[in-house]
Point group: C2
Chain length 466, copies 2
């Protein structure tokens, strides 16, 4: 199943102090020897012990390309499980390209996206859900996303899933043995123990399935739509929230965080604010406006902020609210009415809409002043409360991958049939079939059951060099 080619790729992006080029495969050391001259006279790279670093030059014939450090790893004790080399060179695009060209001209092939990790999976260095976590970990920009990815990389739920699957495999072998002896009506597999195991798996799976919503929030952030007429203070509000965040983020020079417009990180959760420039009039004419586009944006959101001014007539707010309610009906999206510019009205007026508007489930109302930065913390607190960050603390294992979610759902349905079968004394061959299905779906998650297509889909989204 493993590949006999030796692959190479740049593992660091762009121009920087250091660049790292990875080489992995049976000829990784041999190919590197052809282009690397150790600084120490007479040193032979191939004779060096594993996990050591060697100084020298990369050469194109007699021409020196760069002074480098070469790290040497030997199978199976490397990332991929193969012989591997990491060349640490100066981070110049010219040098990177030149070294890759030299490696290729001596027999290495350029790695495909995710191919190092794919090999790590195929060589048993990690299971499939761990391999998937590598990409998530690199993409993680918040504490929450990092936590979910790292837990998955470190075998979080897959260890337990694998162990339960193995126990189930043991049962199926006994049950299939029964089928061989079907004339004799023997029972090798203890049905009581099987019921216990099925219940244990059910409990784990249902916990994982329930964790998906939270996992998804942690991994992908929370989409929030802000609705409101122009000049009601949308960008002032975003800036005010951003400012709240900035105050608690410590910055170390050299680690530039890519600024993503309108994405705000609160306590490790990212909130993505979706631009809804649709509603250009007051609610009086809301029906007349082409706001279908706005409603589409609302569709994508988990939380809708209806931004109004504290001084708006209650009736106007109520009508806008009603229009949005119709749009949201049937969904479990949260709706937050934000009464902005609360500093411009008297205390008495502020409380009017808050009192006058009857809130339903999943609805909230808050007064604040984006401009004066007043009560911004009430809004951020509410957002965090809605996504229920608290539940993360109780939940030690969380899934965030839609592929895992779907496989768990399918496994759960098959498990339900196994349970029913056990109660209704289903013929052993049918029971065996349902158990096989459970095994299949659980195996898909960790990669015991896989196809080139599944692997292709997973690794095509990796970056090259990983």
């Amino acid at each position: 199943m493993t590949d006999t080619s030796t692959i190479c790729a740049l593992a660091t992006p762009g121009t920087g102090a250091i660049a790292v080029i990875r080489v992995s495969g049976p000829d990784a050391i041999g190919i590197t020897e052809k282009i690397f001259l150790p600084a120490a006279k007479g040193k032979i790279l191939g004779d060096q012990p594993p996990n050591t670093i060697h100084h020298g030059t990369i050469r194109d014939g007699n021409e020196v390309v760069d002074d480098v450090l070469v790290s040497l790893f030997r199978a199976p004790h490397s990332y991929t499980g193969e012989n591997s080399i990491e060349i640490s060179c100066h981070g110049s695009p010219y040098i990177e390209q030149k070294i890759l060209e030299l490696l290729v001209s001596h027999g290495a092939v350029p790695a495909k996206p995710g191919e190092f990790t794919r090999r790590a999976f195929l060589n048993g260095k990690m299971d499939l859900s761990q391999a998937e976590a590598v990409a998530d970990l690199i993409a993680a920009e918040t504490k929450g996303a990092h936590k979910v990815a790292l837990q998955q990389l470190r075998g979080g739920f897959s260890d337990r899933l694998k162990s339960l699957r193995e126990q189930l495999l043991h049962f199926i072998s006994l049950i299939e043995l029964e089928l061989d002896f079907s004339e004799e009506d023997v029972e090798f597999a203890d049905r009581k123990q099987l019921v216990g195991l099925v219940n244990e798996i059910k409990q784990l799976i249902s916990g994982l399935i329930n964790s998906f919503q939270l996992g998804n929030v942690l991994k992908n952030g929370v989409p929030v739509a802000i609705i409101g007429r122009p000049n009601v203070g949308k960008s002032t509000l975003l800036n005010a929230i951003l400012n709240e965040e900035r105050a608690i983020v410590s910055e170390i020079a050299g680690t530039t965080r890519d600024s993503i417009e309108d994405t705000i990180n609160l306590e490790g959760i990212s909130f993505r604010f979706i631009d809804t420039a649709g509603i250009r009039e007051t609610a009086d004419t809301i029906e007349n406006l082409g706001i279908r586009r706005t409603y589409q944006k609302i569709e994508q959101a988990s939380i809708v902020l209806l931004l109004t001014e504290a001084s708006d007539p209650v009736e106007t707010i109520r009508r806008t609210l009603e229009a949005i309610r119709q749009q949201l009906s049937g969904s479990d999206k949260h709706l937050v009415v934000v009464l902005n510019k609360s500093d411009r009205v008297s205390g008495k007026h502020i409380s009017t809409p808050e009192k006058a508007i009857q809130l339903r489930e999943h609805e909230h109302i808050i007064s604040l002043s984006a401009e004066k930065r007043e009560n911004i913390d009430r809004l951020t607190g509410l957002l965090l409360e809605i996504v229920n960050i608290g539940s993360l603390k109780h939940q030690d294992v969380v899934i965030s991958n839609i592929r895992h979610y779907n496989a768990l759902k399918s496994a759960s349905e098959s498990l339900e049939r196994v349970s029913e079968g056990l109660v209704s004394d289903l013929p052993t061959d049918l029971l065996a079939q349902d158990i096989r299905e459970v095994l299949h779906y659980l195996g898909e998650i960790t990669g015991e059951v896989t196809t080139d297509e599944i692997l292709g889909n997973i690794f095509k989204n990796f970056c090259i060099g990983k």
Copy 2:
């Protein structure tokens, strides 16, 4: 002179498969030990031999931050000459930031730009011109720039300069001894040998000074101004040249070359085409146009391409040429008249302007068709001929740094006075003073003579992590 602090910085940019964090200083290993738990039980990082790699986890208390590889280097056998650690982690901005925060919280300080290389210089791992070459090497985007930077990094001219300087130091000590015995009219320093040494230094220095123009071309590229009225085919010409280049550049997936608009790489030399959108009319009205801006662009160029059409009346071309000649007079810029759209005129007409226009020194004329890609190679060949790429092959040592150029010029002037002094039997104390000046300027290049200000100026332009 060396620093007792331990510094840390990210040495790779942005999000990628791998990120490398560097730590250097007396506590590099100790600080890393506080946040790194080796995977092998009982392993103590501080007890490990140098140039080894260790797998484990970075921890914030009990919380795992990432699975990493830690490379260990011990003074003086490291880049900086100090104890050093390189942490190879997943290339996620969150993880990078977190590990840097942990290092800082355990006593490391964030490195300033170029501080690792500055320490390498201060610890005698490289001289100043080599340190400067590190930044040039990283920035090198062409074969030519790479060659110049690498040669300088590997001690190209500074080794020879240092050896000559040491010989001169020997002489000055003898000469100063003479001054102590001035009453006795002795001569410890052999004047003949001194003349020989001075001539040797002169020869080296004058070679280096002469190489600066070429070095500058290799390092910074050649600025080319294209002048011509709109629609004369400027962007078609650029694309045609670019196409010529693309055909000879092999691309390996994963090494994205930042595309720099209007910069074209020919045989390792980059030509930067300066946009001159100034001339919007034919030459008849050239005086009437606000083309001062165009002339300013011409000022910055080494080569001026006057783009016209082959079918333009000779008289028009001649008048435009004359206007530009006036602008260029006194400079040694090259002027190339390009007769574009040569495919649209009959063979007879093409040759008319080529024959009719009398060229002066540094002037060239070429017919081509940018659209049909005809004779583009004649133009690129001419451009390369003008920058005299051939001379690179004969010139083994090239300088490209304006600081070195200025120091060499000053050293050269002082050397001239030393020569004259030797001929005219200048009093020994005055001769000694001139020699001291030569020593000073040569020492500035390699860093034997330096100040905090010089170092500050050099390293402030480095990236952090280098």
